[in-house]
Amino acid sequence: MLGLGAARLEADMNRLMALLFHQGVLDEQFMQLQQLQDESSPNFVSEVISIYFRESEKLLKNLRSLLADRECTDYTKIGIHLNQLMGSSSSIGAKRVRTVCLAFRAASEHSNWSGCLRLLEVLEHEYCYLKTKLHELFQMEQHRVMAAGARYHPALS
């Protein structure tokens, strides 16, 4: 039976998840990811998300560097990086990040440098928000496991 602390943390986690879904930050793919986690693979979600953060930060850095010089912008490479970021964002349910990537890709296909720069800023902002919220979620999970000794299964309906 969950202790009071664990129950409260679980309620907080459910509220945070509900908020992130309501804001469109996450979609049902994140739930699918959580459903793939079980006793045989207890850290699956955090492993996937860690790799997502690592790879996304490399891609964002590359995008920033590709847009550094207006005259020499390689829009093909920008498109490649965006496809990668879109693909991985879809896989973890990072809906808003993916949506911004789509708009960014459209700007790059039109060689719209100022549009790309503006969308890169939006993308960086969305990514930071996602990362902050997922870190919060994982910290709550860690505390909850310590309090109750059982893994989190989302109660989001």
Binding site: L36, S40, E47, E55, I80, Q84, S88, S90, S91, R98
Partner: protein
Amino acid sequence: MHILLHQPPVSFYIWSFFVLNSTIARICFSLHCDGGRASMGSTGRRVLLVEDIEINRMVMRRLLSDSNVGLEEAENGKIAVDFIKQGRTYDLIFMDRDMPVMNGHEATKQLRSLGVTTPIIALSSDCLPSDRDRFIHAGANAFQAKPLSKIELVRILTEYGLNITRA
């Protein structure tokens, strides 16, 4: 009697031994390198996932872990084509669209030109009709939006005769 011995990968290599029966013994060595990776299912059915994004490969690995299907992975189309040229065979191929070195369209075309008749399921996070048409024209059997859910994966495996879940 089929005995499948599986050793976990060491560095970039994995060895597979197939012993068919007491009077005929056949040993096949499967050598992986350059981003190849394999797990062998107990039924001997094999799926090849051609996908450059590590997260997507992790998710597919996890999705297939409950089935009796073995999974091999190739990080781009060229590695997939090289696997076929090495003599490897598969019961199903999942082919991503956008990959470095060789993309999914080109890899599909090359596999078909090599005489590969294995069903190829194209995967893409874009679902434009032109994208689907291009893949089908290249020789893919079907087109599926990414990310693939468990339900969709089971449907595809069932459709192509691979859906055998572990007891």
